[in-house]
Each structure stands twice: as structure tokens, then as C-alpha cells.
């Protein structure tokens, strides 16, 4: 679950950066909140793929940054891009990534129980 923990930290960073860069909108606060929410929900066993929903808040941040009129972005917008790209990268990593995938674990367990019978 290390990827989810890092996503939560990036969400917290987005919220802190709202005050650090003194941005006028609330996009970073809202996106940060959703990132924390989706990453936290992924800890629930039945919702362990919720981290894939990060595509929505990060997509919004990327849209805001790349639709900005000038090519040279202010710091807070560059922060949007970097935070969004990092969250998207971590979102690719499955929960319990260091273990076998669940279908494999279930399959091997079934094979084992069948061979015992």
C-alpha cells in the first residue's frame, strides 16, 4: 500500500501548496481532497481499485494547466502538473503491489486445496 500512502502525501501537499502559493481558486484544495479520499478508500478491501479514480482530479489539474493561455506557467500551475503526473504514476501501481495479484493467490490456493483433496 506504499503507493497509496505517497498519493495521500501528494494530496496533502496540494492542500498545503494552496496556502504556500496563495492561489485564488480552490482547484488544488478540491483535487487534493479527492486524491486523499480515493487513496484512503483504496485501503478498504472491497474498494481497493479506487485509486484508479485519481484520473478525475489529476485530469482536471492537467486540463487547467495545459489550457492556460501563456506557455510559461506560474509556479502554482507547474505544481499542478507535477503533482498530477506523480499521482497518475503512483495510481498505476496496484494496492499490495509487493505481493502476488489477488487472482493468482486465489488460483494457487484453489490448486493447493484441490491437490490435498
Amino acid at each position: 500500500m506504499w503507493a497509496r500512502i505517497i498519493e495521500i502525501f501528494i494530496g496533502i501537499w496540494l492542500i498545503i501548496s494552496h496556502f504556500l502559493f496563495q492561489t485564488s481558486g480552490f482547484d488544488d484544495l478540491i483535487a487534493g481532497g479527492f486524491i486523499i479520499l480515493f487513496a484512503s478508500l483504496s485501503f478498504v478491501d472491497r474498494l481497493n481499485k479506487m485509486h484508479l479514480c485519481h484520473i478525475f482530479p489529476t485530469g482536471w489539474l492537467l486540463y487547467l494547466s495545459y489550457s492556460y493561455p501563456t506557455p510559461y506557467l506560474p509556479f502554482f500551475m507547474q505544481n499542478y502538473i507535477l503533482s498530477a503526473l506523480n499521482v497518475l504514476m503512483f495510481a498505476i501501481i496496484p494496492s499490495h503491489a509487493s505481493d502476488h495479484p489477488r487472482p493468482w493467490k486465489k488460483f494457487l490456493k484453489n490448486l493447493e486445496s484441490r491437490s490435498k483433496d
Binding site: F75, I81, N86, M89, I93, A97, H100, L108
Partner: protein, 205 residues
């Protein structure tokens, strides 16, 4: 057999998915992250100058060049910071997955391979082109290109093992089985293909 034990797949006599192999890749990529971050800090003007023991102002000239500004305009970030992101992704994809990920998550190994090998080659070509297009050389950029080259050498073994495993599946099953196995879904065919990837190497001994 409630889990797949870490084993050495063909054609290697070691496990390319072992933690020792992958931690080594992450540690080397970390060197490039630090260098690229340092160069990015200069492009953000968070530091006034940049160190270059060989080419003098070469690094500064490369980082302040028209080409660099043009790339910044396209990607909306300083190019060195994009480099930081690329090397961090190498670390993240190196650290994710089990010690048998060449079999249980081939998609992750292939993604890691795409991240390290073709993108690494592109970054090396771009750094070499600096000398031709910008007419200046950047010592630290050359170091990061060398790191990319080392990462390619260290990462290709795992990708090859995953490809051999996927080929073994295709020999035994349909495209659908291959597709499902690629995304980490098991089947008897996938299990057999994994064993075959190990067994043939054992037979050679």
C-alpha cells in the same frame, strides 16, 4: 504451493525480479534524480548558478538555450524537471511488484521496460544532440545520459524473461489467454508456461 516462489527464469541463472536487482536499479536512478533536480532548480532560478567542472559555462548555456526554452513552452515545465519525473518513474516501476513479477505482473515489467529502455535511448540521443544543436555540452546532462545507459543494461533482463514467458503462453494457449496473463490473471496455461520458463533452464544444467 500457495505462492509462486522467487526463481530464476530463462535465460538467466539469477532472478531479475529479485529485490537486490531492483533496489540496485532504484539506487542508480536516484543519482540521476538528484542531478536532474539540481539542474531543474537552476532553471527555476532557485539557485543562481550551476556547477560544471569540464565545460565551464556549457551547462548554463544548454539550460538557458533557445531549444530548452522551446521545450519548456511545449511541456510547460523546465525540461530538467521532466527528467526528474522520468527518473522517479524508473524508481517507482522498479520497486513495484513481487519477486515473481516477470510472471504474475508482466504488464508492470513491460511498462518498466518501456520507461527505461526506449525512453532512456531517447534521452541519451537528446543529450548527444545538445552538442550538435545547441553547440555546447553539459557535463551533468552527460552524467544523466550515462545513468540512463546503465539503467538500460540493468533493466533489460527482466523484460526478456517476461517476453519469454508470454511467448511460452502463446505457444500453449490462445490470444485471450495471453491477454489475460499479460494483465496478471492466472490460468493453467500461464502456470505451465511459467514452469516451462524455469524448467528449460534447469534441463540445460
Amino acid at each position: 504451493m500457495a505462492s509462486l516462489p522467487p526463481s530464476s527464469p530463462r535465460p538467466w541463472d539469477y532472478n531479475p525480479s529479485s529485490w537486490s536487482q531492483r533496489l540496485r536499479i532504484a539506487a542508480i536512478a536516484m543519482i540521476a534524480v538528484v542531478i536532474a533536480l539540481y539542474l531543474g532548480f537552476y532553471q527555476w532560478r532557485l539557485i543562481p548558478t550551476v556547477w560544471d567542472p569540464i565545460f565551464g559555462d556549457g551547462t548554463k548555456n544548454v539550460l538557458d538555450s533557445e531549444v530548452s526554452h522551446q521545450i519548456t513552452g511545449w511541456i510547460r515545465l523546465p525540461d530538467a524537471i521532466l527528467g526528474v519525473f522520468a527518473y522517479v518513474s524508473d524508481i517507482v516501476f522498479a520497486l513495484a511488484g513481487s519477486e515473481r513479477r516477470w510472471q504474475d505482473r508482466p504488464w508492470l515489467v513491460i511498462l518498466f521496460g518501456i520507461d527505461v529502455i526506449p525512453l532512456g535511448i531517447v534521452s541519451i540521443i537528446l543529450v548527444v544532440l545538445q552538442g550538435i544543436a545547441v553547440k555546447f555540452w553539459c557535463f551533468l546532462c552527460l552524467i544523466t545520459a550515462l545513468v540512463s545507459l546503465i539503467l538500460i543494461v540493468l533493466a533489460y533482463d527482466e523484460v526478456i524473461s517476461s517476453c519469454i514467458y508470454l511467448i511460452e503462453i502463446k505457444k500453449r494457449g490462445s490470444w485471450k489467454t495471453l491477454w489475460l496473463a499479460f494483465w496478471g490473471y492466472p490460468s493453467l496455461v500461464a502456470l505451465e508456461a511459467g514452469e516451462a520458463t524455469l524448467q528449460k533452464r534447469k534441463r540445460k544444467k
